[in-house]
Symmetry: D2
């Protein structure tokens, strides 16, 4: 890390910083510039050391050099990770699509959804049984009953099941029914939950927090990875900005940015990323075009009667049409769109 001293720092201040750097187990390199002195500290970098140095009176700022994540980094594993679980394959040049309703509402609703998304080429079914809702008065999901319906849908269609888990004590239960544990954006830094998912045999779809930085996102993945679960998919679902014409702002540059830093596959959620059904198909195309490893899309047989997220849900017809378009884009960019392995 680089320690920048105040302009007014005297030589004894520089010495004090250099001593502290050494005491922290790093090597200090003092560089006297024309206006400022900086001390470059080499060796292992950690956040606590950064804070220690930044708290010293004559230090103006401390800039880290190394990425704080380890297992998630390309440096730890240069080849892309491909997550395979049941019918779903994502990563390593294969793009898989997860689709289905926001919430599981009834047997008929989830079965209809499952058949429709499978027919259109999705290889996994999404559906919420435990729902994180902004209001305590809103529908909170069918809970275990919903998980059973999802499992029934898998039995019939063969589709892998992706569903959210909200709290550590539910990880085992949800893992009994699901192929992929979804960690929602609001729980991206729920560390006990990350750890519990890190100890589950199920794969994990980790959604980016709505104002999380890339380092925070990768460190959240690191919580899961460091407990031994290697099947982690990162999901960009949009960030919160001043823009109000869309529900969130979907920054697709996340895809190539992360591909240059991590081996984990990147899934795009254009449904939450826009919040508006008509904007979802063009964003599906765009996600594929910049190299996304997967999509997760909300599809509901009857959006106006959806228990949640109707305005951003595609009808089965619209989804089928969008999938055909995505297939063409995938071909154009040399990505294998996996629609056939169920």
């Amino acid at each position: 890390m680089i320690v920048v001293l105040h302009r007014s720092a005297a030589s004894e201040d520089v010495a004090a910083v250099a001593d502290r750097v050494a005491a922290l187990g790093m090597m200090a390199h003092v560089i006297n510039g024309t206006e400022r002195t900086v001390v470059a500290a080499t060796g292992s970098e950690d956040e606590a050391h950064r804070e220690t140095l930044a708290s010293m009176a004559q230090v103006e700022s401390v800039m880290p050099i190394l990425a704080p994540y380890k297992v998630a980094s390309l440096e730890a594993k240069p080849e892309p990770t491909q997550v395979v679980t049941g019918s779903l394959t994502i990563g390593g040049g294969v793009c898989g699509v997860i689709a289905g309703p926001c919430s599981v509402e009834s047997e008929e609703q989830i079965m209809t959804s499952a058949r429709a998304v499978k027919a259109a080429g999705a290889t996994a079914l999404r559906g919420g049984a435990f729902k994180p809702r902004t209001s305590p008065y809103a529908f909170q999901g069918m809970k275990e009953e919903g998980l059973k319906l999802l499992a029934a849908a898998r039995d019939e269609t063969g589709l892998a099941i992706v569903t959210e888990v909200m709290t550590p004590t539910d990880v085992e239960l949800v893992g009994d029914y699901a192929d992929v544990l979804q960690i929602g954006a609001r729980n991206m830094q729920n560390y006990r939950l990350l750890e519990a998912c890190g100890e589950s045999p199920a794969a994990v779809l980790l959604k980016r927090g709505m104002s999380s930085t890339m380092d925070e996102f990768l460190l959240a993945a690191e919580y899961v990875l460091s407990r031994g679960n290697e099947r982690v998919m990162l999901c960009e679902r949009g960030v919160r900005t001043f823009e109000s014409h869309t529900r969130f702002t979907l920054p697709l540059a996340t895809v190539p940015y992360l591909h240059a830093r991590t081996h984990l596959p990147i899934v795009i959620d254009p449904s939450h990323g826009t919040g508006v059904a008509s904007l979802v198909p063009p964003m599906m195309n765009a996600a594929i075009a910049c190299g996304a490893d997967g999509l997760i899309v909300e599809v509901h047989p009857d959006p106006p009667n959806a228990a949640s997220d109707g305005p951003q849900s595609l009808t089965p017809d619209a989804f089928a049409k969008a999938m055909i378009a995505c297939g063409k884009v995938a071909d154009a960019v040399g990505l294998t769109m996996d629609t056939t392995n169920v």
Copy 2:
């Protein structure tokens, strides 16, 4: 709520919307403007109804009229709530100050901190035993051992204890030691945790998520309140914006805004709100000047040796000086600063 139809909506579309409004148990009022038709729906408003209407093909947008929170609203309880727990009183014209280190690190550290913040006029001690850390490799807190040290500090000083709880299964344990359960910004929408705190006899300090809206903040409080725990304090700790010169951006207008909508007391955290120790005292003054009901401030006997948050921690001396300044500002704006009830 107000349903705005697309310009191209025909009379049968208007009728369909009006019928749906009625089917949802609301009364429809059709208003034909010169360019658009809107349908005003009166009666109970809920998010699911908004989504249902927004999902209809001829609907352009739906605007809610009523606030979605109930128990937290001034309409439910016009008089300000004063939270009293042990030595701490916050709200209802009384401003209390919570201070202490980011993390509990040792008996000596927490005892020194407790004595110092008490001497300066704080009426509660903060200190983290369970620490939510961005990196899995960072110090995660002393856990129950830390809680015991906090309790010992209360025994000696009489200061109420404020400490974070991160997961529902720890609520009982933390509640056994603490007077106030702190729910961190990253857990503001950890609904199972909110519910568990709602069932605890301890008071709750709920921190605003770093990109949460005011409605989301009050609905998170509503999760706690609706489970029966009435002693909720709201804490503004800064939001994430494009600004990088401070760790977060501290929007003090939150104080008067919330005072006009909720009876719950508002506490300001200038330490996380700025991330820089030298900016903390002026922001303490500013918070008091606009009517904050409380402050929560990081104070550490030796910031460069703090296990976490050193750069934003005040020394005991700086804190004592800042408290004197705050007392004068409180007098100027007619707020009672409570520094004497330990």
Copy 3:
């Protein structure tokens, strides 16, 4: 517009609001809900009326219903506008590409750039002669000398010229040399400049301000359009958010969102939108995939020696390769990529 009264509003308050609505030339429709009264005001909506009503003591908020822009709206002109100027065609199903260096630096540099981007399929040349620079000490552009070099490049290659104009008094001069006047993001609300460009015979490329809303963006276009210049292209170049891993955050949902509201063509600038050369080609693909009408891309023969924006400039080779990829994506989504009309 919809006027929401405070909960405490009495019947005389409602009458006062209704009277004021009528005095402003609109028709008032009073709707008594169970908790609130709202007054729907139909007729012409303008911002001044909204503010007048919002300033009344018993009014809580006023929500506009109608879009504030007129000439730019699809309602005013349902068919897409195609801007044609010299070799450049953008809009109406045709995607054109503008490319070249950030700044004009020398005859050799601009000629080399022009030949390279033409060879790769661009149909217009960009290059700044008047440069808006954050620091007064930075290179401010070659000014008229730069314009002459651009004109010389057009003479040789036939490429239309796109270059920035920074102040109203330069509009005529820049218009003498350029085919398209670029209005930079920092000048999106420089109203005297917008008006001056509205009176120029040259086409206009209007860049979105880095924190402008969609309504503000379209109203800026409206300033140009309302002065009689119909050849306006809107350019999304990224917005400022908390994200720091890219220079700006590029929200591609702008493309389909604007296509549903305006007839003006939408151009994407992935160079400023990311600030990192390696992220530009995937974002070019993504922009085409979601239906962009054009791209503007920074290309420099020798990025490390560029006078400005080297880190986000593609080399000619990288650009040529990216253009081939874009052509395939355009085919996949049924867009005509215009690379042949020079």
Copy 4:
């Protein structure tokens, strides 16, 4: 500046970077860490050099060390600048208040306003004659007629006049009537305007752009200062964030942050900073409490009939009451509130 090389950089890459650093006139210090090599470049730092190095193939990132502004810095002038013009004194421990309507609307309106704000203790009158409006169809100000009315108000009351100038060719005209040229937030990076104001004998109130960083803000001031105009006041008027309950988010930490970096006085605009009249008085208190050198407040004799900004305008009575409160806060923090020098 600090140049961080890619992990894969070989010794010849390091040499190439070091050579380039030397060729740019800086001295290169190579530091080999355990995982990365960095090259510290000492000597004069400029943005062009940063970009050159950042564009090199083996360079991952370049971090500047020195602040890019010069004349505005505390290092150039350690003592605070006090701007004195006519009746207005701001800075150097003296807090002055500028107040008045958003727009000049009529002789009666501006005279009534001037008398009222003077009576309450303001020492300068604000009022817009040239109005930057989001919509081309909105009231654009009374222009020179408005300037004459402002001058008449000064003649009667003795109050210094603060009014906006929007374009370089108007600087002389506005300067003939005004004591202080206001540069609006939307023009903070209108460089030709900054330069023209830098050559005016009038003082300048420079508003921060709604998403400008601190460095950009100070560099905009530097444009004015570097042309010889030393009487520059910086005005924080709120930034654009995801928050929609206020018009902008007002980050008061700007005050102490800037005081630690620049000698220029800092003025707070709580009217635009919140957009809501009821939030203005508490934010006035808060601004004073954290050390603001001045306030600029919108006051209108009849807000619902204001031509612009009614919802955020205080009535004369509310302003008078707020000024009394501010005076007490100023006393509490040891700031001299100047209300008597007219």
